[in-house]
Symmetry: C2
């Protein structure tokens, strides 16, 4: 931790003083113990979309399954937080037949392994259910509320976090194609729409962490947030997308953006971050979906740049105390959004330098591997570590503990 | 009115049936009467800034005063609505010494001539008072509220309309220079800022028409408006700026913009419209204030274009029923904002074609000149006219009347 960014050290780490005692209170003096980090408090996430077929045993070929298992292991070795897909049009293409079983199996798989799981998104005009078009606005609203309540009840205890509503800034003026959600939002207005979906979600699972999420980083999103907060709607975290297909934002813009949205005192989640390892999308494209090319190759120069930007991006996010989570938007280039070379792995499943670059932070510079320590005559020992979950192993036992507050932490552990 | 745009005819005119009787109720049958329009209901406005020195008798040279008087006459022949300057930094450069007397004299001059008068603006980060910088945010807020209450009381009965607050979308993130209003808005938030200034204005003059005004025509302004309305703040009209230094918007964009903001059911005022008679500002300029050149000449081609666009712009605005007012931002090129050739008159006070183009609409195609009519055996006569104020002159008397509702109007006048 010698070269650690001072802001990261200040906001993300703590100097721990452990006092180790036996069950009768006697200090374990002069003993060899081992401290090892088990998890980060910071949520390092990725979409887990690719893993759903594997988890559900849908891969038929043996080689394919073995490959998927290897990739799943690499996925789990880097991330502690998974986002699963709830696009309404794909989740429930036929009304009344939701894809609950498959997605629930995937969510349980991650949750059983100790990961935080998020559902994305519960309300959005894009990829929404086509059958909404046949309904009146009042019925679209009722279906949207019922859908949210169903998902939050079906996934309660497994998925604890939701992008409740996505891209509301553009929602009522979205004009690419007609859809039920835009129609409804245009009629009732953005804030009543947000209130409706948040009320439904909160009511169905009051323990869940509920996010408002948007790609619009302009003052429009600020204005929306201020209206929402003024209206008394409780948002648990603000989601900022950062699909950087047109180029890495850089430290200055990233920090300025975080500062603008951190003003509201809410945790900031970078919900959708993308960095390319190929050529960039031209700057004149406004809606990223409009850029369609046959092939978007990952290149050696692009991969070097991606690895560098990955390091800078994650370092920047951890340096700002308001940021609590980042979800990277794509694990491999296979079936990646827009066909972009955005993953840590190429389409042929070979790793790009970005995987190792990020791994060397999350499980390297920012991680305490099993570390032998010796307690003093009072059973005390000290170490500095990132906030998160740890194990203390003595000759006799292994005891789990957490450190949650940056700065200094004093803990007494009975082993 | 034969060639009138059908939307303008539908929304702006009425077919009037007048029944003219003598005081004892006898119909004035078979009589020659004259109907003449005196004013438009629609507010055709312009900044009246240029006229303040003339009205206050501050012009020293005789030729200069005569010229100003001639220009004032031309001004009054075109417009029925004047906007006067209340930029805090110029209105009260030294705390406690506001420029009330001069501006009040100007406001009275317009009001005495039957014009509607608006003050612009009561709260804005640009051109605000420098001395706010020495105050705490709480004291800035108190000074802002006191300033609004003072102006609304001092000008009550003379100025009936106010741009209460200007450009709130950018206000808290404005970064060109430090100022007290940005500081305050950043601390308390946009909506509390708007509530504070509207409460102050409403409280000081509950009859006044109070506007929220912005140049940002993006979804940011929509989001702000939705938050403001959701917060229960009463806005009387929405101000949309349209400084078209980078080119005329055209009919499609103009109507789409009006449609987006008309959704809130509030009257729309085009508060600041500008069309150039010289070269356009390059499109890459984001803040118009950043474009500084030594000379910005009015050209023959530019003047022809300006006249054409003026006709199209005003025709478009009148075709949409939500628009109730337009203020043109500049009468002459002398001392025009940014030095742009935006006026109806060149810097040497000679008229551009745009003056005649607009005059031929407001006092031509859209105007009923003194028109002789003959009443039938029941004292009835009919005409079609723009909503506004009229005089009916019989052999004996002149009677004023108003028509306010588009479509059909039946009126009984006692002469």
């Amino acid at each position: 931790m010698i070269a650690l960014d001072p802001s990261i050290k200040r906001h993300r780490t703590t100097d721990v003083t452990l006092t180790v005692t036996s069950p009768d209170g006697t200090p374990l003096a002069g003993q060899e113990v081992v401290v090892a980090q088990r998890n980060h408090r910071f949520l390092f996430g990725c979409i887990g979309f690719d893993l759903v077929p594997y988890i559900n045993g849908e891969l038929t070929g043996e080689a394919e399954a073995a490959e998927a298992e290897r990739m799943a292991g690499l996925w789990l070795d880097l991330f502690n937080f998974s986002t699963l897909p709830f696009y309404w049009g794909r989740f429930e293409p036929e009304r009344g037949r939701p894809d609950t079983r498959r997605v629930l199996a995937a969510a349980r798989w991650f949750a059983d392994r100790g990961l935080a799981v998020k559902g994305h998104p519960l309300a959005w005009h894009t990829s929404t259910a086509d059958w909404l078009m046949e309904l009146s606005n009042a019925d679209v609203a009722a279906a949207q509320v019922a859908r949210i309540q169903r998902e939050l009840k079906d996934f309660a205890g497994v998925i604890g976090m939701w992008d409740v509503i996505n891209e509301v800034v553009i929602m009522p003026v979205f004009d690419k194609y007609d859809n039920g959600i835009t129609r409804l939002c245009r009629e009732i207005g953005r804030i009543p729409m947000i209130r409706m979906v948040f009320d439904a979600a909160r009511d169905a699972d009051h323990r869940a962490t509920l996010l408002l999420n948007d790609f619009d980083m302009s003052s429009a999103y600020e204005c929306l947030i201020e209206g929402v907060l003024e209206a008394g709607i409780q948002i648990d975290a603000l989601g900022l997308q950062s699909h950087m297909h047109q180029g890495y934002w850089g430290e200055e813009k990233t920090l300025a953006t975080i500062d603008r949205f951190a003003r509201y005192g809410l945790p900031i989640h970078f919900t959708e971050s993308t960095l390319l390892s190929g050529h960039l999308m031209p700057p004149e494209i406004v809606d990223l979906n409009d850029y369609k090319i046959d092939e978007w190759p990952s290149t050696p120069e692009g991969e070097a740049r991606q690895a560098d930007e990955m390091t800078r991006h994650y370092t920047t996010l951890l340096s700002h105390p308001a940021v609590e989570a980042i979800t990277y938007w794509g694990f491999t280039d296979k079936r990646s959004w827009l066909g972009a070379p955005a993953g840590f792995f190429r389409a042929d499943a070979t790793p790009k330098p970005s995987y190792e670059a990020l791994h060397s932070l999350i499980k390297g510079s920012w991680w305490l591997p099993p570390t032998p320590l010796t307690t003093d005559e009072n059973g005390r020992t000290t170490f500095t570590g990132f906030l998160g979950d740890y194990d203390l192993t003595t000759a006799a036992t292994t005891t789990a503990f957490q450190v949650d507050i940056p700065g200094e932490t004093a803990l007494r552990l009975t082993c």
